[in-house]
C-alpha cells in the first residue's frame, strides 16, 4: 500500500506538470503571420504596411485577384474602393447606367437608395477601412515609439507617416462628400471594442484642412516621390477640391483658397498629356499630367474591381474585346443620351471632332428604354488595357489591366481654377481661366478654332462632363451646381422614370449604412433616411 501511495503521488506530480505544459499550448500564435508585438521592430515592415494603405484603394484583399478580403458583407470583387467610388459617383448621375441585377445596384441610377443599400455600405466600410489602417500606422510611428525602437533616424518612416496622413485625409474627404456626418476616429482613439463618436461636416472639413496643411511641408515635392505615392501635388489638389466644394460642406465659399492651391499645383511642374486617350491606357503612369494615381498591374496587382471593372464592364454588344486588350466584356456599363448630348454640335449631332467623345454606337441605341439591355444607350470606350501602340497588357489571360487610374490630374485642376475664378475667388483672372479651359479644348479638338471666348459656370460644368466623365467627379460636381436632385437638370431614368424626375434633396448625402447605425449607438442617421 505504501508503494502504491508513492506511485500515486508521483503520478499526480507528473500529471500536474503535463497539465501545465498542455495548458500553455492554448497560447497558439500563427506560424507565419506576424503578431503586433514584433511587426514594428523591423524597419522593412513599415514599407509593407504603407503599401497596404495604398493597395487598399486598388485591390480587394491580401490575395490577387481575390482571397482574404479586406471587408466582407459584399462580394469581394465588388468590394474594392475604386469600384465602389465609381458606382457612387457615376451610376447616380447622367454619365453612367449599369445593366446588371446585382443586389440593390439599380437603386443608384434610380435614386431610390436606402440605408440598407449594400453598395453604399461597401463604400462606407472601405473608407473607414482605409482610415483605420492609416490611424494604425500613424499611431505606431510617433517620435516616441520610433525612438523606443531605435528607428527615430529613419527618414523613410517619417515620409510614410506623412503619406498615411494624406491617405487618411483623402478618405475622410470622400466621407465628408458622400456621408457628411460620419463617425470620426483618429490615431488618438483606441482599437477594438470602442464606439467612435460622430462628427459633422463643418468639423470634419476643418480637420481635413488642418491635416493637409500640416503635412504640406512634410511631403516630397511634386513628382519627387515614387510614382503611386503621395506628394505635395496630391495634397494641394485635395485641398483645392476641398475648398471648391466648401460651400456645399460648410455653407461658406472658399473659392480664393481653391485658387491658391490650384495655382500651386499648376506651378508644380505638371503638363497636359498630348493625346487625351493616352491618359486611360497602359503607360499613363509616365504622363506628366497625372498628379495622383491608383495603380494596377496585370501580373502583380490583380483585382476584380478597380481598373479591371472599368475596362471590362463597358464592353458588350458588338464591341470587340481585343480592342480593349481583354478577353471579354462584362456587358454592363453605358451612358445616357444626356452625357452624349454634351458633345452635340449646333445641329444637334455628336461632334466627333472632340476626341473625348469616345462612344461606341454600333448596335447601340441612344435612348435607353431598358437599363437591363446592354444595347440601350451608347457604350463608352475610354478605359483600355492597351498601350499607345495598341498592344495588350501583361496579363496573358486578358483579365487584369496594367492601366493605372488617374485619380487627380492636371486637367481637373485647370477646370477648378476656372470655376474658382467664376465663383469669385481672388488670385486668378478670367483670361487665365479661359486659357486653362481652352488648353483642354485645344487638346480635344486638335485645333484652337473651338476655343471659347467667354465662359459661364454652366460651361464649366459641361466642360467637366466632357473632360472628366467616368473619372468619378460627376456626383460631386452636380451637387455643387445644385443639379443632382433638383429639376434643374433631368437625365434619363433619374428618379426611376424614363425622362427623369426631380428627387428629394436629402439624396445629396448618402445614408449612413443601417448596419453601422445599429452597431454604433453614437451615430445619428442622416436626414431623410
Amino acid at each position: 500500500m505504501k508503494n502504491s501511495k508513492k506511485i500515486i503521488f508521483f503520478a499526480l506530480i507528473t500529471a500536474l506538470t503535463v497539465f501545465e505544459s498542455c495548458v500553455k499550448d492554448l497560447d497558439r500564435v500563427p506560424f507565419y503571420d506576424i503578431t503586433s508585438a514584433t511587426v514594428y521592430n523591423d524597419p522593412a515592415n513599415y514599407r509593407a504596411i504603407i503599401a497596404k494603405v495604398y493597395a487598399g484603394l486598388a485591390v480587394s484583399g491580401q490575395q490577387g485577384p481575390a482571397g482574404k478580403a479586406d471587408i466582407s458583407g459584399i462580394d469581394e470583387g465588388f468590394s474594392t474602393y475604386l469600384r465602389q467610388y465609381y458606382k457612387a459617383q457615376e451610376l447616380t448621375t447622367d454619365e453612367a447606367v449599369i445593366g446588371w441585377n446585382d443586389g440593390s445596384i439599380k437603386d443608384y441610377h434610380n435614386m431610390k437608395w436606402s440605408s440598407a443599400n449594400e453598395f453604399i455600405a461597401a463604400m462606407y466600410y472601405r473608407i473607414f477601412y482605409q482610415i483605420t489602417l492609416c490611424n494604425e500606422f500613424i499611431r505606431e510611428t510617433t517620435d516616441a515609439k520610433l525612438s523606443e525602437r531605435g528607428l527615430s533616424a529613419d527618414a523613410n518612416i517619417k515620409a510614410y507617416r506623412a503619406e498615411a496622413r494624406f491617405m487618411r485625409a483623402l478618405s475622410y474627404w470622400h466621407a465628408l462628400d458622400m456621408f457628411a456626418n460620419p463617425p470620426f476616429v483618429t490615431d488618438a482613439d483606441p482599437l477594438g471594442a470602442f464606439l467612435p463618436k460622430q462628427t459633422n461636416r463643418a468639423d470634419l472639413f476643418a480637420y481635413i484642412e488642418k491635416e493637409l496643411k500640416e503635412i504640406e511641408t512634410l511631403l516630397p515635392d511634386p513628382r519627387a516621390n515614387e510614382f503611386g505615392r503621395a506628394d505635395k501635388g496630391a495634397a494641394w489638389t485635395l485641398l483645392a477640391k476641398l475648398y471648391l466644394n466648401a460651400e456645399v460642406y460648410t455653407g461658406t465659399s472658399r473659392a480664393t483658397d481653391c485658387l491658391t492651391y490650384s495655382n500651386k499645383v499648376i506651378g508644380g511642374g505638371y503638363a497636359l498629356e498630348t493625346k487625351y486617350e493616352n491618359l486611360f491606357k497602359i503607360g499613363n503612369d509616365a504622363s506628366k499630367e497625372v498628379i495622383f494615381a491608383v495603380r494596377f498591374d496585370g501580373m502583380r496587382t490583380k483585382t476584380w474591381g478597380g481598373m479591371t471593372f472599368l475596362v471590362h464592364a463597358p464592353v458588350g454588344g458588338t464591341m470587340r474585346a481585343a480592342d480593349f486588350g481583354i478577353n471579354g466584356g462584362w456587358g454592363g456599363l453605358r451612358t445616357t443620351k444626356d452625357l452624349v448630348g454634351l458633345f452635340n454640335n449646333s445641329s444637334n449631332v455628336v461632334d466627333y471632332n472632340d476626341t473625348r467623345a469616345m462612344f461606341y454606337t454600333d448596335g447601340q441605341t441612344l435612348v435607353i428604354d431598358d437599363i437591363g439591355d446592354f444595347t440601350n444607350g451608347y457604350a463608352i470606350t475610354k478605359y483600355k488595357n492597351v498601350d499607345q501602340a495598341g498592344k495588350a497588357g501583361s496579363d496573358p489571360e486578358g483579365n487584369f489591366p496594367d492601366t493605372d487610374f488617374p485619380m487627380f490630374r492636371l486637367a481637373d485642376v485647370h477646370l477648378m481654377y476656372a470655376e474658382a475664378v467664376l465663383r469669385g475667388g481672388t488670385g486668378g483672372t478670367t483670361a487665365q481661366a479661359l486659357a486653362y479651359v481652352n488648353a483642354l479644348r485645344q487638346r480635344a479638338y486638335k485645333t484652337t478654332r473651338t476655343a471659347l471666348t467667354t465662359i459661364t459656370l454652366d460651361d464649366i460644368l459641361n466642360e467637366r462632363g466632357r473632360e472628366l466623365y467616368w473619372e468619378m467627379h460627376r456626383r460631386t460636381d452636380l451637387i455643387r451646381f445644385k443639379k443632382f436632385t433638383t429639376g434643374a437638370y433631368l437625365w434619363q431614368w433619374k428618379g426611376g422614370t424614363k425622362n427623369g424626375a426631380a428627387v428629394s434633396d436629402n439624396l445629396n448625402v448618402f445614408p449612413l449604412p443601417a448596419a453601422d447605425v445599429i452597431a454604433n449607438p453614437n451615430l445619428k442617421q442622416n436626414t431623410g433616411y
Partner: protein, 988 residues
C-alpha cells in the same frame, strides 16, 4: 441436427469446427465416453425467439462451463443432476436443472433486456435503466439489412430529433446531420466520437465527415447524446449533440471466423429538372426574343441532362476475419473495397479500407486494452458539377458537337468576332469531358485505450486513451488548353496537398461503489486535443505559368489549434429508483482571445424510476421520468487566430507598385479581443416507458435550448477595427421541441415477427437577439446567397423569426392567378416598392420530422423499409427565379426554367415570394428484401441474399426535382439516384 431459424443476423451462425474451437478453448475434452458425465446440447434464446450469442452456461457450484455460439447453441459435458446457470448481459439469469434430458433449450426472460443494455455515454458506459439524460441508441439489431453505404443511413429516420439529410448523388458525398435543429447560426454539425476518439468536425477531400470513414458492417452501436445533461461531458464540442459510434471488437474466446459480403448496385436518375425542349425554346424566342436572339437559334432538340447522366454500376466488397490469436488476443479485421460510380459522367470513388481491432484482456480482466486502427484510402474522380446547372440551362436548340476542331469539337458560344464568349455558359458535355480532377485521400485513425482496474482497489479504475488521426490529401486538376473552359488560361495544371493531424490524449479515473442500494459512479478526467493543418496549392497553366496567388517565398500555410479539458461526472443511484447525475467540464481553447479562453460547463440530471416505486406497475415494466439541465459550448466555425491581433502577408499578385517596384503588403488583421465561447443551455424533460408485454416501448422528451453569445459575423462600428465584420459573441437563439419515439412489435409468432418503430420530432427555433443594442430598424443579417446577380441573398437571420427565414417581396397576382412581373405588395404603404417592403416568410427547416421503420420476418425471409417525412420546410426555387427569359444582346441563348411559360417574366424577379414553395415530403429511403439460404448449405455456411432499392419513392407538392436540399435554396443539385442492389453475405 440444428433447427434452422430465421434470425436477425448471419453472425449467429457458426460452423461445427468453430464450435470445436470454442469448446477447445474452454479446455473441454471431447472424449467419447466419460463415466457420470454426459453431453447436453441446447439453445439459449431471448424472448424474441432468437438465439442469444455469448451467453454463459456454468454448472452451478463448479468452474465448468461454456458460452453459446452465435446462434445461441451450446454443448456441455455435465455431471448428472447438474444445475446450469445461464446468464447473459442484459438478460435475467436463469437456473435450470438438467435432470436426465440431453437437450435443453432455455428461453431467457426479456423484461430487463433493454434496461440492462450497456450504453456508451462518453468516458464510460451506463446501463440503460440508469440513464438520466436523453440518449438514443441504435444497435446492430436495429440496422436495416442490405446495402448501406454510409453509417448515417443506419440512423436516418430512426432517432427522434435527429435529422439526416442525405448528401447529393455524388460518390462519397456526406449527409447533413442535425440534432434538434442545430444550436447556432453557422456550425451545426454534431460531434462524432468513434471508439472514444472525438473527431475533428468537417470533411476532408474524398471523405465527407468522420462517419464516412467507417464501414457500416463494422458498427456495433450508435448512441446519440441529445440533451445537454448527457452531452455536457463533451462540453465545448457538444452543443450540437454527440454521436458515439462503437465498432465491433474482437471478443475473448471467439473462434476464427471469416465473413465475406458483396453488393452490386445500379444507380439511375429518377427525375430530371423540367426544361424546355428545343422546339419550345424556339417558340419562346420567336415570341419574345429580338432579331439577334432569333438568329442564334439552332435546329436541334438536345436533352442535355440525358447527355450528362448515366446509369452507374458500383460494387462493394468486405472481407472480415475475427478470432483469437494465442488465446489472449481477440481481434477483428475488416478489409473493404468500394468502387462507386456516380450517375454524373466521370464521377467515381474508389476506396480501400482496413479496420483492425485488437482487444486483449489481461491480468484476470483487470487490464483491458483496446487497440483500433482504421485506414481509408480513397481515390476520387470528381466530375465538374458545374455541368449540372450547365445542362439545365444550356440552349437545347444546338447539338453537343460541331464539325470544327476548335474546343475539342464541342459546340460553344462565340462572340461576333469569333472569340469565345466570356459570358455564356460552356457546353456541359465539354465541361465534364475536358477536366480531370483526381484526389487521393489517405486517412489513418489509430488509438489505444488502456483500462486498468486496480488489483488492490478494484472499485477504482484508470482509463487512458491515446489517439492520432492523420489525413493526407493530394490531388490535381488538369484541363487541356483546347478545352473551352481553359482556353483563356492556356490550360490548367493545378496540384494540391494537404495534411491534417488530430492528436488526442484523454485519461480518467473511475470509482464505482454499491452499498446497500446506494450506488455511486464517479469519474474525473483530463483531455488534450490538438488539431494541425497544412496545405499547399500550386496553380499552373500548361505552359508552367503560375496562376492564382501565393504568399511570398512559397511557404506552406499552416494552422493549429488546441483544446484542453478537465471533466468529471458523478452518478448516484438509490434503490434503482432515484438517479442523479452531475457533470462538470472545464474547457480551454487556443482559438479564443487571451483572457477569454476558459469556460466551465455544468450539468445536472435527475431520474425517477416510477415503476420501482410501484407506480404504473400493473401496466408498465418501466416508467422513468427524467429532468436534465446543462450547459455546453462551441468553438467550431471560427478560425484559429481570431482572438489575436496579427499581420498577414499579402500575396504576389496583390502587391502594390511604388515607382517600378512591387511591394508585398502587410495587413493588420481584424481581431476580437473579447472572443469567447458560444454557450448553449438546455433543459430537457423526458419520460421513458415500456409496456409489460414488451410489445410497446418508447420515450417522449420536451426540450428548451437557448444558445447565447452566438458566434455571429456582426458589423462592428466603422473605424474601430481592421475590418467591418467580425466573429463576435452577439445574439441568442432558442430551440424548443418535442420528440416522441415508439417501438412496437405488433406481431410475434414463431414464424412471423413484425417490428415497427415510429419517431416524431417537432422543433421550432427563433432568434431572440442579434445586436448589442436593440434597434427596431434593424432587419437582420442577410444570408442564403442565391445564383443570379452577385451578392444577392434570399434569407435573413432576424430577431423574432426562425434562423434563415426567407426575406422576400409579396407577389401580386393577376385575375387569372398568374404573377405580375415586378408588381409587389407595398407592405409599408409608402407608395414605393423599396427593400423595406420585404417581409419574412417561412424558413427552410422543417417543423415536424417523422420516421417509420418496419421490419417483417417470416421464416427465412425478411422485409423492411424506412419511411422518412418532413413537414413545414420551404424551398426557394432559384432555378425558376433565375430562369426567366427576355430580350437581350448577350450573343448567346440559354434555356430558361420551364416555369417561365407560366410567369412569362422577361426579367428576373429573384425576391418574389412566388418562388417559395412548401417542400414537405414523404420519402421511402429504402426497401429491403432478404432471404437466408443457410439451410441449403446444411447450415455449414451462413449464406444470405438481399435485394435493396434505395430512394424508392417520394411524395411532395414541391415542383422541383427534389424537396430535400440543405439550406432551402434549390439551385440544381447532383440528382439523387434510385439505386437497385443485390447483396450476398457468406460466413465460414
Amino acid at each position: 441436427m440444428k433447427k434452422l431459424r430465421l434470425q436477425n443476423g448471419f453472425i449467429r451462425h457458426l460452423s461445427n469446427w468453430q464450435k470445436v474451437l470454442v469448446l477447445m478453448l474452454f479446455g473441454l475434452m471431447l472424449t467419447p465416453s466419460v463415466m457420470a458425465q454426459r453431453t447436453v446440447t441446447g439453445t439459449v434464446t431471448g424472448a424474441d425467439g432468437a438465439g442469444v450469442p455469448s451467453a454463459s452456461i456454468i454448472v452451478k457450484g463448479s468452474t465448468n462451463g461454456t458460452i453459446t455460439d452465435l446462434d445461441g447453441a451450446f454443448s456441455l459435458k455435465v455431471p448428472d443432476n447438474a444445475v446450469l446457470v445461464i446468464s447473459s448481459i442484459g438478460l435475467s439469469t436463469q437456473e435450470v436443472s438438467v435432470g436426465n434430458s440431453s437437450v435443453i433449450n432455455i428461453k431467457l426472460a426479456e423484461d430487463a433486456k433493454t434496461l440492462g443494455e450497456l450504453v456508451v455515454i462518453g468516458y464510460g458506459t451506463a446501463k440503460k435503466k440508469d440513464l438520466t439524460g436523453s440518449i438514443a441508441t441504435v444497435n446492430e439489431k436495429d440496422f436495416q439489412k442490405g446495402n448501406i453505404a454510409s453509417p448515417e443511413q443506419l440512423i436516418a429516420g430512426k432517432i427522434a430529433g435527429v435529422a439526416v439529410t442525405p448528401g447529393s448523388g455524388a460518390p462519397g458525398s456526406g449527409s447533413r446531420i442535425r440534432i434538434r435543429g442545430g444550436s447556432s447560426l453557422s456550425a451545426d454539425d454534431p460531434l462524432i466520437v468513434v471508439d472514444g476518439v472525438p473527431l475533428a468536425t468537417g470533411g476532408i477531400g474524398g471523405i465527407a465527415n468522420g462517419l464516412a470513414l467507417i464501414n457500416p458492417n463494422d458498427i456495433e452501436s450508435i448512441n446519440v447524446l441529445k440533451d445537454a445533461s448527457a452531452a455536457a461531458i463533451y462540453g465545448s464540442r457538444a452543443s450540437n449533440g454527440v454521436i458515439i459510434v462503437t465498432t465491433k471488437k474482437g471478443r475473448k474466446g471467439d473462434g476464427f471466423r471469416v465473413n465475406f459480403s458483396t453488393i452490386l448496385s445500379s444507380a439511375q436518375p429518377v427525375k430530371y429538372v423540367p426544361v424546355l425542349t428545343g422546339d419550345e425554346l424556339r417558340a419562346l424566342v420567336n415570341k419574345v426574343g429580338n432579331a439577334s436572339q432569333k438568329a442564334l437559334l439552332g435546329t436541334e432538340n438536345t436533352d442535355w441532362q440525358k447527355l450528362i447522366y448515366r446509369n452507374a454500376f458500383s460494387h462493394d466488397e468486405n472481407l472480415n476475419f475475427s478470432g483469437t490469436v494465442a488465446k489472449v488476443l481477440p481481434f477483428r479485421l475488416n478489409l473493404g473495397y468500394l468502387d462507386q460510380n456516380g450517375i454524373l459522367l466521370n464521377s467515381n470513388m474508389n476506396r480501400k479500407s482496413v479496420t483492425l481491432n485488437v482487444n486483449p484482456r489481461l491480468l484476470d480482466d483487470h487490464l483491458k486494452v483496446d487497440f483500433s486502427y482504421k485506414g481509408s484510402f480513397a481515390k476520387s474522380k470528381f466530375a465538374d458539377e458545374g455541368a449540372i446547372g450547365g445542362a439545365v440551362g444550356f440552349d437545347p436548340t444546338h447539338g453537343p458537337y460541331t464539325s470544327k476542331d476548335a474546343y475539342q469539337g464541342y459546340f460553344e458560344w462565340l462572340n461576333p468576332d469569333g472569340t469565345l464568349s466570356t459570358l455564356a455558359g460552356r457546353n456541359p458535355l465539354g465541361i465534364l469531358n475536358s477536366r480531370q480532377d483526381v484526389s487521393d485521400v489517405n486517412r489513418h485513425i489509430a488509438n489505444a485505450i488502456v483500462d486498468y482496474k486496480f488489483h488492490f482497489f478494484p472499485d477504482l479504475r484508470v482509463n487512458m486513451n491515446v489517439a492520432i488521426d492523420k489525413a493526407f490529401t493530394d490531388g490535381y486538376t488538369k484541363k487541356d488548353s483546347t478545352a473551352a473552359s481553359a482556353a483563356a488560361v492556356k490550360g490548367v495544371n493545378n496540384t494540391y496537398t494537404q495534411e491534417r493531424t488530430a492528436k488526442t490524449f484523454e485519461s480518467y479515473l473511475n470509482y464505482t461503489k454499491e452499498i446497500s442500494g446506494f450506488r455511486a459512479d464517479i469519474m474525473a478526467g483530463y483531455g488534450y486535443q490538438d488539431f494541425y493543418f497544412e496545405g499547399v496549392n500550386n496553380f499552373f497553366n500548361l505552359k508552367g505559368v503560375r496562376q492564382g496567388d501565393t504568399i511570398p517565398s512559397a511557404i506552406t500555410p499552416k494552422s493549429q489549434s488546441t483544446l484542453v479539458s478537465f471533466f468529471g461526472r458523478a452518478n448516484f443511484g438509490f434503490k434503482d429508483r432515484y438517479l442523479l447525475t452531475f457533470t462538470m467540464r472545464r474547457d480551454g481553447s487556443s482559438k479564443l482571445a487571451p483572457g477569454h479562453k476558459w469556460i466551465t460547463y455544468p450539468a445536472v440530471a435527475l431520474a425517477w424510476r416510477m415503476t420501482e416505486e410501484g407506480i404504473g406497475k400493473e401496466l408498465f415494466s418501466d416508467l422513468k421520468l427524467r429532468v436534465g439541465y446543462g450547459v455546453t459550448g462551441q468553438q467550431d466555425g471560427i478560425s484559429d487566430y481570431n482572438g489575436l491581433k496579427t499581420f498577414s502577408l499579402g500575396g504576389n499578385t496583390a502587391q502594390y507598385p511604388f515607382g517600378n517596384a512591387y511591394i508585398s503588403t502587410l495587413r493588420p488583421e481584424g481581431f476580437n479581443e473579447l472572443l469567447t465561447w458560444q454557450k448553449t443551455t438546455t433543459t430537457n424533460v423526458g419520460l421513458d416507458f415500456a409496456l409489460k408485454n414488451d410489445r410497446f416501448s418508447g420515450a417522449i422528451d420536451y426540450y428548451f435550448r437557448e444558445t447565447s453569445q452566438l458566434f455571429n459575423d456582426v458589423n462592428i462600428p466603422a473605424g474601430a477595427n481592421f475590418t467591418n465584420r467580425i466573429k463576435s459573441n452577439i445574439g441568442t437563439l432558442e430551440n424548443n421541441g418535442i420528440e416522441l419515439t415508439l417501438n412496437t412489435v405488433p406481431v410475434k409468432t414463431n414464424n412471423l415477427t413484425w417490428e415497427a418503430n415510429f419517431i416524431l420530432g417537432y422543433n421550432k427555433n427563433k432568434i431572440t437577439k442579434l445586436t448589442l443594442v436593440d434597434d427596431p430598424k434593424f432587419v437582420g443579417v442577410t444570408t442564403g446567397g442565391i445564383g443570379g446577380g452577385v451578392g444577392n441573398t434570399i434569407q435573413i437571420h432576424a430577431v423574432g423569426a426562425p434562423k434563415n427565414s426567407f426575406y422576400v417581396y409579396q407577389q401580386v397576382y393577376g385575375d387569372g392567378g398568374q404573377p405580375i412581373e415586378e408588381l409587389y405588395v407595398d407592405r409599408n404603404g409608402d407608395g414605393k416598392i423599396t427593400p423595406e417592403d420585404k417581409y419574412l416568410f417561412q424558413k427552410p427547416d422543417a417543423d415536424y420530422s417523422l420516421g417509420f421503420t418496419s421490419n417483417l420476418t417470416y421464416k427465412d425471409f425478411s422485409f423492411g423499409f424506412v419511411l422518412r417525412g418532413s413537414i413545414g420546410n420551404y424551398m426557394y426555387s432559384n432555378r425558376n427565379s433565375g430562369g426567366t427569359f427576355g430580350s437581350n444582346s448577350l450573343n448567346y441563348l440559354y434555356n430558361p426554367a420551364r416555369n417561365v411559360l407560366e410567369t412569362g417574366f422577361l426579367n428576373a424577379q429573384y425576391f418574389s415570394d412566388y418562388y417559395l414553395q412548401n417542400a414537405s415530403f414523404l420519402k421511402m429511403d429504402n426497401l429491403t428484401l432478404g432471404y437466408d439460404l443457410s439451410s441449403l448449405f446444411k447450415n455449414k455456411q451462413m449464406v444470405r441474399l438481399t435485394a435493396v432499392v434505395q430512394n424508392v419513392f417520394m411524395v411532395t407538392k414541391y415542383d422541383g426535382v427534389d424537396p430535400e436540399i440543405g439550406g432551402g435554396i434549390d439551385n440544381n443539385i447532383y440528382l439523387r439516384p434510385r439505386t437497385y442492389s443485390l447483396g450476398l453475405n457468406i460466413q465460414f
